[in-house]
Structures are given as structure tokens and as C-alpha cells.
Symmetry: C2
Subunit: 230 residues, 2 copies
DNA sequence: GGATGTGAAGTAGTTCACAGCC
DNA sequence: GGCTGTGAACTACTTCACATCC
């Protein structure tokens, strides 16, 4: 059952905004609201109402002219588009400060994500129990898992990425400040803390306030050389 | 001395890639290389050579036709554009798992960023010494500082943002899963871990491999209603 | 020859403006 | 009246293709 198409392909910015809309809708549910309109969503998400409507129109036409969207349906549709009915296994490699913080964070492993195993190279860390999992040695890394998280230093990132791909991982979230190369078909996203700070400082220095704040969205290019297919 | 214009306004995607190029160039320096070309940078950064050249052309014309860029000059120019000669104070609010991990991370506070103070509401945490700073109570939050980092739960994020702005902070990095509203002129970037996972899962489910990976960059809209621009 | 720097073309995303429906 | 959904216009970013210079 490959699900009925699960809506057509959405753009990257749209995909990154849908979870925000969904969170807003959940807030409405919690407050007992039953309907929401694009202006309200936009206000809370920091985007224009038009953008909200354009984003949602990609999920099919389920709003009501004159009165907005039913929150329950909205949540449902976004969950469906994002595949929240699926659950999936997450491997975390690198159990230092950051790795530990992530697996213990209440914001991290939600909506179907399930921690499958933790790995590290450091013999002092291997064998420890973290978030209910015994940390295993990196050499023991095996699948299956859907998603891998890299929390190692930059120098190990490529090696870890290769191992993750070898274990069948289809997507990687990389916290190491290092671009990694992966085969086509594997998605990689980067969270680079020092770069975020540098970007913000650029705005401070150049007074780029006008278009301040923002809902996160990420973009990017690949591993292998982008053209000439790899 | 407002520095001579510091090059013209760069696009958001360009700004987010420059630190990556710089890191690559520093790797070359470390290996004793003295020159680098756009193809090499692009390969390692995961973007096309054209994009690299377009990005760098915004910093002025300092390459040499036929042989690329001198690494030392490249690093210099990027540092100049990004304001790396400035140092600035960072306040971190919320000293839970994540806040702790950040301030202890070697990737976080670099290139001019200087930890100025840590705050928390939890009396059990206040008074503790973390990363060489005694955690202070949130009510004692005062400036001056340039940049604030929010590592609190979502519910406190807006309150903390208001306090940070009150303390004179010009830019905020928000790890709480909550869009915050700030005055025009204050930049906010979001790092939302669960959203990153959800985006990756979307790609896994839809087999969006072709244009895989990606250097993170975030954007967004602000606080006030986005239209009616000022 | 070889790589930069950049007009011109192409592609993606956002915003406008309004027809359509409740 | 009010708000959705969407063609059309616009803006932003990327990629092509090549003149230019070492």
C-alpha cells in the first residue's frame, strides 16, 4: 500500500513551513478552536497569508471559502503529506555533549522517529547507557535504519556518513561542520551552529533588519559533484 | 570607522555558503596549498563552480584568470565580508541539555563570538558554573550583548525574546520550536530539530534523492505583519 | 590553455489581484 | 461580507555560455 500518491511533489520551502503550520494548528486545538484561517496561520508563522494558502493548496483543496480551514483536517492533511503515520528508526553517531543533548531532548524524537541505536568511537563512552540505550562501538554499526544523525567532529563525518549509507540509511542529519559526499538518493541536511552565528552577525553588521526573523528553511546541494551525475 | 562599505549586500544563500568556502580554504592552508579554484571549492562545498564564482564575485574581483584564487586572500575577503574582525557578546538563555551542549561545543563560539552570560529560570540550575560562567536568574538579564541564543522550551521563547530585545540584542538564534515576534531590525534564525527530521523523512518517503544534501540556511519573516512594509 | 567574471537565459519561489464559493 | 484557491506578474537565485585576461 504505497498510499494514494500522498499529494504531489512539494517545494522545499513549503515542506519546511508545513510543520510550523501544523504546530500552530495544534495550538488552536489545545485552546479549543475548531477553525483557523490563512491570516492567523501567517501571523503566527511569520509568513504572508498568500504563502500559507499557496503552501496548503499543494495538499489539495480542503479549505472553506469564507471561513478558513478546519483545524482537525488541516493537521490531518499535513500529517499525511509529511508521512507522520510512518514510524522510522534513527541512528545517532557521536555521543558527546551534543549527541547526548539531542537524544534527551523532548523536541527531537517525535512524530514517528524512534531511536534505534547510539554509536561512538570513544572507549570511555562505549558501554555507557544513554537515553535507555547502551552506546555501541562504531565498528558495530549495522542497519537497518532510515535516518542517521552525525554528531561527531568534522574529521570523522565522511567516514560515519559512508558507514551510515552502508547500513542502508536513506537520510542524514549532519551536525558536524563538514560537507559530506553521499550517493544519489540519500538526502543530507546540515545544521551548522557556527555558520548560523556568522549569518546573524552579517545581518547585525549590515543592518539587515527590514526582513528580519524567520521560519527556518534549508536548502542545499549535494554530495557528489552536482552535474555529471556521479 | 564604519569600514568602507564592506562590500555590497549579499544574498541570503550566498551568505550561508561563504563560511563553507572559508572552511574549505582553511583546509587548503593547513595542507600547504596556496591556490584554489572554483571547481575545487564547488566540489567540496557541494555546489557548482559557477555558483562559487558568482558568490565570490560579490566580494570584489580578486581571482586570477587561469589559476583561481589565492587562498590567503580568499579567506581574508570572506572574513571581511562576514565581519570576522569584530568580536561580539553572546547571551545564552536556557541551560538545559542543549544549552549546556552548545556552550561546551567547540563548533559554536568561534570567530569573534564571546560568551557573555548564561541565564535560566530553574533555581536548581541558577548558581551552577557552566563553561566558566555562573548561571544567573532570568530576571537578572541585562545587556549589553549583540546576540542571544534561546534554548528554553517553546512556552518561554517569546518572553525570553522580549527580554533579549530589551537588553539590546540585535540578533537571536532560537532553538525553541516556536516562532517569535521581534521588532523590525532584529534578526531571528531558527534551528528546529524536529522539523529537520520531518523534512528528511519527507524526502525519504518521496524518494527525493537527486538534489540531495544541502547546506543549511534559514530565512524568515518577522515579527510584525510582513506586509505593510516600512 | 585555463579559469575568472558576468550578461543573458532559465528556473524557482513569492506576491498580487481577483474570480469563485460559502 | 469574508476567505479560499490560483492565473499572472514579479522577484530571487541558479546555470549557461562566453568574452576576458593571466
Amino acid at each position: 500500500m504505497a498510499t494514494r500518491v500522498r499529494s504531489r511533489r512539494l517545494s522545499e520551502p513549503t515542506i519546511s513551513r508545513l510543520p510550523v503550520y501544523q504546530r500552530i494548528a495544534e495550538g488552536f486545538v489545545r485552546r479549543g478552536e475548531t477553525r483557523i484561517d490563512s491570516r492567523q496561520i501567517g501571523e503566527l508563522a511569520g509568513v504572508t497569508p498568500t504563502t500559507v494558502r499557496r503552501d496548503l493548496s499543494g495538499l489539495g483543496s480542503f479549505g472553506t471559502r469564507g471561513s478558513g480551514y478546519e483545524v482537525a483536517v488541516l493537521i490531518e492533511r499535513i500529517a499525511d503529506a509529511l508521512g507522520h503515520d510512518q514510524s522510522y528508526d534513527v541512528i545517532v553517531v557521536g555521543v558527546g555533549n551534543l549527541g547526548r543533548a539531542l537524544v534527551n531532548s523532548s523536541n527531537f524524537l517525535i512524530r514517528g522517529a524512534r531511536l534505534s541505536a547510539l554509536y561512538d568511537v570513544d572507549p570511555a563512552v562505549v558501554g555507557q547507557s544513554v537515553a535507555g540505550h547502551v552506546v555501541r562501538p562504531l565498528d558495530a554499526l549495522v542497519g537497518p535504519a532510515t535516518l542517521g544523525v552525525i554528531c561527531t567532529p568534522a574529521g570523522s563525518a565522511q567516514d560515519v556518513a559512508d558507514r551510515l549509507v552502508g547500513a542502508g540509511v536513506r537520510a542524514i542529519l549532519n551536525f558536524a561542520p563538514q560537507v559530506v559526499s553521499v550517493p544519489l538518493g540519500v538526502a543530507v541536511h546540515y545544521v551548522d551552529l557556527s555558520i548560523e552565528l556568522q549569518i546573524l552577525m552579517y545581518h547585525v553588521l549590515h543592518g539587515t533588519g527590514p526582513l528580519a526573523g524567520g521560519v527556518l528553511h534549508s536548502v542545499g546541494l549535494s554530495g557528489g559533484s552536482p552535474r555529471r551525475g556521479s
